[in-house]
């Protein structure tokens, strides 16, 4: 292999747009945050490669949360929505073949989980998870119900804004990301201690999906657009000098 012939590695992460580990407003971080500085290194093959997930891994209903856990002929309860968008990297190029996994509470704000104790009821027809792989343009689309907000034990009266969790695999393990999508106009967004771990309003705006009436299916489902940006690869025609770090 010629040295670094294919790429210059991943662009360094912009930590001003990422949350600190220690954010006491979100109490659980206090004892779960590393205190030493992270050790910075340029990426190596170990971070520039990533597992391959093919369409063979994905079932037909995996991106339809309204039906993928429902009894035959039934569907999940709640406001029907389509969530769509693209996965791009920081250089603006689409990321095809990215695996997206998403999970969420039901319309009442209740998760299907043994440790979940909120009084809102489970929906027997809603599991709360889905997944898909982006197409050659980096695009994805799934159907679900709009999740409800819910209270959580942190402060005395903290509520999560409605949100959908996303887990994303790109082309390199250094692009690995888990984040959350919020809904435009939700008054709980600026109040939420988990949102407030971000101290750049632009980072919060980038996690907030706008309503898209043009993509909405009349008499069926509203649409929200959520683009996701993964770390980008450095581009150059010049070879890197030998790095004797």
């Amino acid at each position: 292999m010629s040295e670094n012939s294919t790429n210059g590695g991943y662009i360094a992460r912009d930590w001003t747009r990422q949350p600190s580990a220690y954010t006491p407003g979100y109490k659980t971080t206090v004892k779960r945050s590393p205190q030493a500085a992270l050790l910075s290194f340029p990426t190596t093959l170990s971070e520039e490669t990533s597992p391959v997930f093919g369409h063979g891994n994905i079932g037909k209903l995996d991106n339809d949360l309204i039906h993928n856990f429902a009894k035959p002929g039934e569907s999940a309860i709640g406001p029907r929505i389509i969530v769509y968008g693209r996965v791009l990297d920081e250089t603006g190029r689409p990321v095809p073949g990215a695996l997206l996994e998403f999970w969420q509470a039901n319309a009442g704000g209740r998760y299907r989980h043994a440790k979940e104790g909120y009084i809102a009821p489970l929906d027997p027809n809603f599991g709360g998870c889905g997944r898909m792989i982006t197409d050659e343009n980096g695009s994805y689309e799934f159907r679900t119900i709009q999740p409800g907000p819910y209270p959580w034990p942190n402060g005395m009266n903290d509520w999560r804004p409605a949100h959908i969790h996303f887990s994303i695999f790109g082309h390199g393990f250094s692009q690995r990301l888990i984040t959350q999508m919020y809904f435009e106009g939700d008054p709980l967004i600026p109040l939420c201690p988990i949102v407030r771990v971000l101290n750049d309003q632009r980072a919060i705006d980038d996690l907030t999906a706008p309503l898209d009436m043009n993509r909405t299916l009349p008499m069926d489902a509203r649409a929200y657009k959520f683009d996701i940006v993964l770390r980008g690869r450095r581009q150059t025609y010049f070879e890197n000098r030998k790095e004797r770090l």
Binding site: T29, L38, S50, P51, G128, I178
Partner: protein, 204 residues
């Protein structure tokens, strides 16, 4: 004013939360779907190399095990090749995925990977790195996934010339990256989020 650089910004991370298993390991959390969870097996047939088991626990700053974490592992095969679309150096073991996912045990927090001892992979300048696996830890209370590396304590020679291990300023922290050999084919790798034994985490 100068021209604008037209880069986008990486989307901000948000915690995986307490219910990450619903999305990433739904069958583990009792939601029967997909025909199984991704990453539960790293072998799809007879693999090359030495088969090993890696287990450990993630501890918080008061020494309590995390029982709601998800740990991912990514590594090369026994020949040092990655089962990745980006691997251009040769053909990786077709029966090895290189990717594992483990939920902490709901009671003990223990994670387990049944894998193979990875081969050596070149660093950016061509020098060989010591055998290692990349680990990524997410959980409630972790705002951005924690990236670390697992090396093997019984690879002393390779470790002593590893381009990353040898560059760590606080050499007394290097043992936090070494899996201990606990059996003929078994290793232990505990992860400490805080405290005197705090694991080294990377920004790579």
């Amino acid at each position: 004013m100068a021209q604008k650089l037209d880069y986008l910004k990486e989307s901000a991370s948000q915690t995986a939360g307490p219910y990450v298993h619903i999305g990433c390991m739904p069958n583990f959390s009792g939601i029967s779907i997909y025909g199984g969870d991704l990453g539960t097996s790293m072998k799809t047939g007879q693999v090359s190399g030495k088969e090993i088991k890696i287990s450990g626990v993630v501890y918080d700053g008061v020494g309590a095990p995390l029982r709601d974490a998800m740990i991912e592992l990514w590594q090369a095969d026994a020949a040092g090749l990655y089962p990745s679309a980006n691997e251009t150096r040769g053909n990786p073991d077709p029966n090895f995925t290189g990717f594992g996912r483990s939920p902490g045990d709901p009671v003990t927090g223990e994670f387990v990977f049944e894998t193979v001892k990875p081969g050596r992979v070149p660093f950016r300048d061509g020098r060989l790195q010591a055998p290692h696996a990349t680990l990524w830890i997410v959980a409630r209370g972790i705002n951005i996934g924690l990236h670390t590396r697992l090396y093997f304590e019984d690879e002393a020679d390779a470790n002593s010339e590893d381009p990353i291990l040898t560059r760590i300023e606080h050499q007394n922290r290097v043992p936090t990256l070494l899996a201990k050999k606990t059996g003929e084919a078994a290793y232990r790798f505990d992860i400490h989020l805080q405290g005197p034994k705090e694991t080294i985490f990377f920004d790579m």
